[in-house]
């Protein structure tokens, strides 16, 4: 049963090979859909520019070459880390995405904090007192919360807290400072205030899901033998709930959470658009509208890479952490 370091290396090597293959497929798909996105020249040129001028520019940009020639050119540059220049920003697409990445990360962290600090206590409470009226209310509201689209939540938040009450700024990222070398809104009041509404909106999709997940996991754990044993031992109830029960509840929750980070990235597109948040998601939507193909492909590849890397890392950690997960291909 013991798997040695060699097995792990082989396993890692296989996973890396798979990951490379997946990235290759993503790049191929990303590149081949670009013809269906529309004509980038329409966004680059004014409406009254003649057809001859358009063709000249198309030739100059290499858009008239056969697909394989274009893809080959793209691939040979891509392996050197060059995914082309954005038409709109006139800079390497990867640089543009890197610039916007921090803003998105802030939003994801903000939303994650909200989810963690609300869903854990609420989920526990609902599990401990399943029949209390607060639990029923939370469960009821979470059903509604899960079914409201994120842009509605966002617009509602803006109208209530910015327009009617005037408490919160209605858009943007606010001031950013860089006391520790990276420019962020985390280190000043204005930046943090701007972060509140977008984080709440983004959290609103996942929050009900996690409350429900924690509740059901916790209820299951509370029924298990070792908890009964703890009760029988006469342990303090808080110790039983928050030490013994919660610990085992959180294992599956963290697994689901890891997967959901990807979903959250997708939802940043909507949240960022409504709040004019200068992050990757908004960048992507704008790139689609402008048919900025190099930027679209770069975004797809970067997001693909994030998924592939997270999954590979999770798999590797699993084999290290959990001895019951067998390394595929090794006879037991």
């Amino acid at each position: 049963m013991e798997s040695g370091p060699i097995d792990h290396l082989i396993f890692l090597g296989k996973r890396l090979l798979q990951a490379t293959l997946v990235m290759f497929v993503i790049s191929l798909i990303g590149f081949s859909i670009q013809d269906n996105l529309g004509d980038p020249l329409r966004e680059l040129l004014g409406q009254s520019v003649s057809e001859a001028e358009r063709q000249a520019l198309r030739d100059q940009m290499g858009l008239n070459d056969p697909f394989l020639v274009q893809y080959g050119r793209f691939l040979s540059k891509a392996v050197q880390g060059d995914l082309g220049d954005s038409y709109f920003f006139k800079r390497p697409a990867l640089d543009v995405i890197a610039d916007k990445f921090i803003a998105t990360l802030e939003l994801v962290i903000g939303a994650t904090l909200i989810i963690v600090f609300i869903s854990v206590p609420m989920g526990c409470y609902c599990a401990i007192k399943p029949n209390g009226w607060i639990s029923r209310a939370v469960m009821g509201i979470s059903i509604v919360g899960i079914s409201i689209p994120v842009f509605l939540t966002a617009i509602f938040c803006i109208y209530l807290f910015s327009v009617e009450l005037g408490w919160m700024p209605s858009f943007g990222r606010g001031e950013t400072t860089a006391p520790f070398g990276w420019e962020s809104g985390f280190f000043n009041v204005d930046g943090l205030v701007h972060l509140v509404l977008p984080s709440i909106s983004l959290a609103s999709i996942m929050l009900p899901l996690f409350i429900r997940l924690i509740r059901s996991e916790m209820m299951e754990v509370l029924e298990s033998e070792y908890i009964r044993f703890a009760w029988a031992k006469g342990l303090n109830k808080y110790r039983v709930w928050f030490l013994h029960a919660l610990k085992n509840t959180l294992l599956p929750v963290i697994t689901v959470g890891g997967v959901q980070i990807g979903t959250m990235l997708a939802y940043t597109i909507l949240t960022e658009t409504v709040f004019q948040w200068p992050g990757m998601g908004f960048l992507f939507l704008e790139a689609v509208n402008r048919v900025d193909t190099p930027l679209i492909i770069a975004y797809i590849i970067v997001v693909g890479l994030i998924f592939v890397v997270t999954n590979t890392v999770v798999d590797v950690i699993y084999t290290l952490v959990n001895p019951t997960v067998r390394i595929a291909g090794k006879a037991s």
Binding site: D39, E51, I102, A178
Partner: protein, 538 residues
């Protein structure tokens, strides 16, 4: 140079460095403004404005678009500019007069300096003009011209190939650039005047014009900071805005919320659904104006034989209740049209009204032998014009009443334009704004016989062709007597009307909104480039 510092950082790439620099410069600018304000005894006035998009580039010749022209009027100045009444107002040119049929002599304003400190001379105009002639977007407007002849430092001639009536119209597009500032090579070894569509050029990140505002910081897609140019020549202007923070806000509800919550002072465009709300709100003002962009449907005579019959085309125009569309779908926020050019344009003819009449439409269909109707395909964009997809749906259901069954497809503009170029449907929607604010421009692109060599009729997806129209429009392009020319252009509109060359819908209105006390009403115009240098804030 004052602007080379932010520019150099902009080229650098990383947001951390960029934003740091933004802050430093913004602070310096703020301190400078503050000192100045204290010295002069005036208060600093900052305008926070939000548009749906920010300009693509700081280079005024890179893209012919509303955003570029808006920026040009802030950082640069044109030779002449349009007034609200569609007449010309002197700016950098103080006087002009025809020397002969093909030559117009301009006198340049004395004592004007660029933001870099260089003086403005006729050489700068000549230099700018040469650059316009090689710009893919602008060369079309300047095609009738030979070039600029410099007479002396403050006098120059605009020379055309043939007698040309629209010299002043074209002059509204000449924003003299600082030729000394743009001469030489940048740190990448590229010439500073390089004009590239999709490349990082010096001119796309640096600017020096004679305009009222200097760009102090710019993060593309996020914000642009401007401060008033101390050396601005127009001391007579009442404008008192010292700083502008320009933010693009893409989503209309967010843009409106930003205004209502006081986060910004001035927004455009205003979505039709929120007009009422802003108008009734105590703290905000709404300004609306009839626009000049015509929305039409074209009927493709090459794809559908029935469309070759004038009576069928007329029946379709009679069947489309465009006044109803304006009322119900546009919420009154458009002007129903019966012709191409709006009121105020040379070719506008008062008698060419919208003509909804269902009975007449049915009669015409019967007369043409299509009483039972036929089936057609239709395409329209769904994010290009205000309510475009809903308008197309309405037109499709109106045509059903004269037994024309419509198979409608709507799509985002990015996908629509290639379809339009292919002429992929029997009826296609097209909106047009005349770059020259002149009637002939509509016909040149929309209703003249398509001709690949001359580029005429480039957007005539209906393949409507009438030799008389072609002849009259061509003739109008070299007529310098305004009255006689107007008569010719009006005749064109009459022929198109009688022929039912296309289905006119409406001219989209324009709307701007601002906080009370920001007097935008005095600076907005039908071209949709507010003259912010003249804006007064209480």
């Amino acid at each position: 140079m004052f602007i080379s510092k932010p520019g150099a950082v902009l080229d650098g790439g990383l947001s951390a460095r960029l934003s740091g620099a933004v802050k430093r410069i913004a602070t310096t600018a703020a301190v400078a403004t503050l000192c100045l304000a204290t010295a002069a005894g005036v208060q600093a006035k900052t305008l926070k404005m939000a548009y749906d998009a920010d300009p693509v580039s700081l280079d005024p010749h890179e893209q012919l678009s509303g955003g570029t022209l808006q920026l040009s009027h802030m950082v640069f100045d044109p030779l002449v500019r349009w007034t609200k009444e569609l007449t010309f107002e002197p700016r950098l040119a103080t006087k002009w007069a025809r020397v002969d049929d093909k030559t117009m002599r301009f006198t340049l304003r004395q004592g004007v300096t660029f933001q870099s400190g260089n003086p403005l001379t006729a050489e700068d105009v000549a230099w700018t003009f040469k650059r316009l002639q090689i710009s893919p977007d602008f060369k079309g407007i300047f095609d009738p011209f030979v070039g600029v002849t410099v007479v002396d430092d403050h006098t120059f001639d605009l020379v055309t190939k043939e007698p040309f009536p629209l010299v002043l119209h074209a002059a509204t597009y000449i924003f003299p650039m600082d030729s000394k500032f743009y001469t030489g090579t940048d740190e990448n070894g590229q010439p500073k005047d390089a004009l590239v569509k999709h490349g990082n050029t010096y001119a796309s990140t640096h600017a020096s014009g004679t305009g009222p505002f200097i760009v102090t910081a710019r993060e593309q897609g996020v914000r642009i900071d401007f401060k008033r140019f101390d050396g601005y020549w127009d001391k007579a202007s009442k404008g008192n805005v010292t700083d502008i923070v320009f933010t693009p806000i893409k989503e209309s509800p967010t843009r409106v919320a930003a205004l209502l919550s006081g986060d910004v002072d001035f927004i455009a465009p205003v979505p039709p659904t929120d007009l009422d709300r802003i108008d009734k709100n105590a703290g905000t003002d709404l300004v609306t104006m009839g626009g000049t962009r015509i929305i039409t449907f074209q009927m493709n005579q090459e794809r559908v034989a029935a469309f070759k019959d004038k009576r069928v085309r007329q029946a379709i125009v009679y069947a489309v209740n465009n006044e109803g569309i304006v009322q119900k779908i546009m919420k009154g926020f458009a002007t129903p049209a019966g012709q191409q050019g709006p009121k105020g344009y040379a070719g506008y003819k008062e008698n060419l009204k919208p003509r909804f009449d269902l009975a007449k439409a049915k009669a015409l269909m019967k007369e043409a032998g299509y009483e039972k109707g036929f089936s057609i395909t239709m395409m329209a964009p769904n994010n290009r014009y205000v309510n475009d997809a809903k308008i197309a749906e309405a037109v499709a259901s109106m045509l059903a009443r004269i037994n024309i069954k419509v198979d409608l497809k709507t799509m985002p503009k990015a996908q629509y334009w290639p379809k339009f170029d292919e002429r992929a449907a029997d009826m296609m929607m097209i909106g047009w704004h005349s770059d020259t604010e002149d009637s002939a421009n509509f016909s040149e692109f929309l209703t003249m016989t398509p001709n690949k060599d001359t580029g005429k009729g480039q957007y005539n997806s209906g393949n409507y062709s009438n030799a008389k129209v072609d002849e009259l429009v061509e003739k109008s392009l070299s007529m310098t007597d305004p009255a006689a020319r107007a008569a010719v252009l009006q005749e064109v509109e009459q022929i198109l009307y009688d022929d039912a060359a296309f289905v006119p819908l409406h001219w989209q209105n324009l709307a701007w909104a601002a906080k009370k006390g920001v007097h935008i009403k005095d600076v907005v115009n039908v071209m949709n480039f507010p003259y912010l240098g003249d804006l007064v804030i209480d």
